[in-house]
Amino acid sequence: MTWNLLVTQALNGLQFGVVLFLLAAGLTLVLGVMNFVNLAHGSLYMLGAYIAAAAFARSDSFIVAGVAAVLGTLLIGVVVERTTLRTFYARGHLDQVLATFGLILFFNEAVRIVWGASPVYMRPPDAFSGTIELLGFTYPSYRVLVIVVGLLMAGGLYLLIHHTRVGMLIRAGATNAQMVSVLGVNIRLVNTLLFGLGAAMAGLSGLMAGPIFSVQPGMGDNVLIAVIVVIVIGGIGSVRGAFYGALIVGVVDTVGRIYLPLLLRQVAERTVADAAGPALASMLIYLFMAVVLAVRPQGLFPARR
């Protein structure tokens, strides 16, 4: 039983990790290239989940839901960037934090107005509603799909950034945006593209998270905080760091929630362990972050400049 549980939880952690990665990659790229703190990134994830749930309920096709979620968040991201956030690129971090904080409040409430305060249910696609045998373990096939799509996206992002012209411009922009602009590249267009890419990935992760977590107002906020921990652990601006950081945080958080209370029961009295276990487990990734920072303030996998 225990071996089975461990593998299942590790897979759950991996699946949470790839959802975190899709968000962290967009956030860390925008942060690294444009030096812009976008706290509203979690709102795009929430909007992706809502649009997907609505489109899935209407069309009964998961592919339509996916296209709607990705295109919808891409559109919203580009519109918000063009109308509001662009003016904050030249401002300090404090103003950026404040503006995106305002956007979060707006989007959370807007979602509540359109879809109501209670959670919206979204089922997995029919083809992936069962379980599959995996190395002798049964595991929900939808979660396998999430892991596979997440890993494919990570691979695609690697190819995009390191082996295409756009990727080269993104890397160049991260090093010296002004120089890239002087060389005749429309850096504002690159910025918009990058912001849109981040928004679309947030929408994709919202779509994939929809059938697993509940779709409700504010669902992006807690995920955003976990994503921030991922970025800090991995190193700000580093996509590689976001990838490893996301997997570490996903697995540590998921496995820790199950095993820490059990471990505590062995060393402490039952009443103490039952009280402290869940508390410690929910603090685990933050404590981990504090340790990482104390040892390596630049993160585990800092961006190579």
Binding site: L98, G102, L293, P297
Partner: protein, 326 residues
Amino acid sequence: MLPETLSARSPRVIAVVVFMLLLAAVPLISAAIGQSYYVTLVTRILVFGLAAASLNLILGYGGLVSFGHALYLGIGAYTVGILSFHGISNGWIHLVVTLALSALVSFLTGLVCMRTSGVAFIMITLAFAQMFYFLGVSLKQYGGDDGLTITQRSDFGPLFSIQGNTGLYYLALGLVAATLYLSWRFVHARFGRLLLGTKSNIRRMRALGFPVLRYQVAAYVISGCICGVAGLLLANFTNFASPAYMYWTVSGDLIVMVILGGIATIMGPLVGAAVYVILETVLSAYTQHWMVILGPVIVLIALLANRGLYGLLLAREPSDSGSGAP
């Protein structure tokens, strides 16, 4: 950028004194017109004004963008809640424990946070506050997610009682007045000047040989302690301790108050808290979906309110803020 300076008889000092006296008269006025509601409204303003003033010390004067200051509101509130839960209602014990816990937590997290700067600092303070939020949620024996009802307010002995709303109001007002006065002294003292120096050019301060980290952590601890006291007041005011006090949106609210009122000004945070709390109250009376209006308002504040409302008043004064002589 030097802090505002002025002589004792400038119109601004007189205006501030008149403003504080008006605040002191609020319970009398509201009793006279039979609207006790105003006392609770202004108490709320004072509590959040105190928290915002504490944040302003590090945010405004130290340039340390803490997005997790609600953490200390939670520490103060839970100290009152948990001690009262176990039958300890002595207010002085509440106060000492609040200060000790706030100092300990802000010292430890401060040491870790100060290893970074800029965006990472914002994110880490946010993450630490959220860690304590989840800690509060997981404390099932103290109400967990639902929070903890406080049956008896802190008991400060026969000297003054805060069991009634008027007593609590004057305690909050006294603490706000004392904090604002001490902030004034602080920013004009050597410590405050040093902190301002780290804000404008930390490298130069290091090169000049100042132990910058020590001053920043010290300021962070002072700020955390004051905010902890604000949490103690908040718990007594609402008779409730809840993880929601530590939620990250509360930290965001505090930043909005500081910016709205005027960053790096003494009276700014109180003015910001007043406007923000009143705005919230008015909007929420108007529609249940008031946040859909408040959000864009905050974006506008970020866009336009560089100096804040109180800062705008200062800018109209030709003599003081321009000269800047200490």
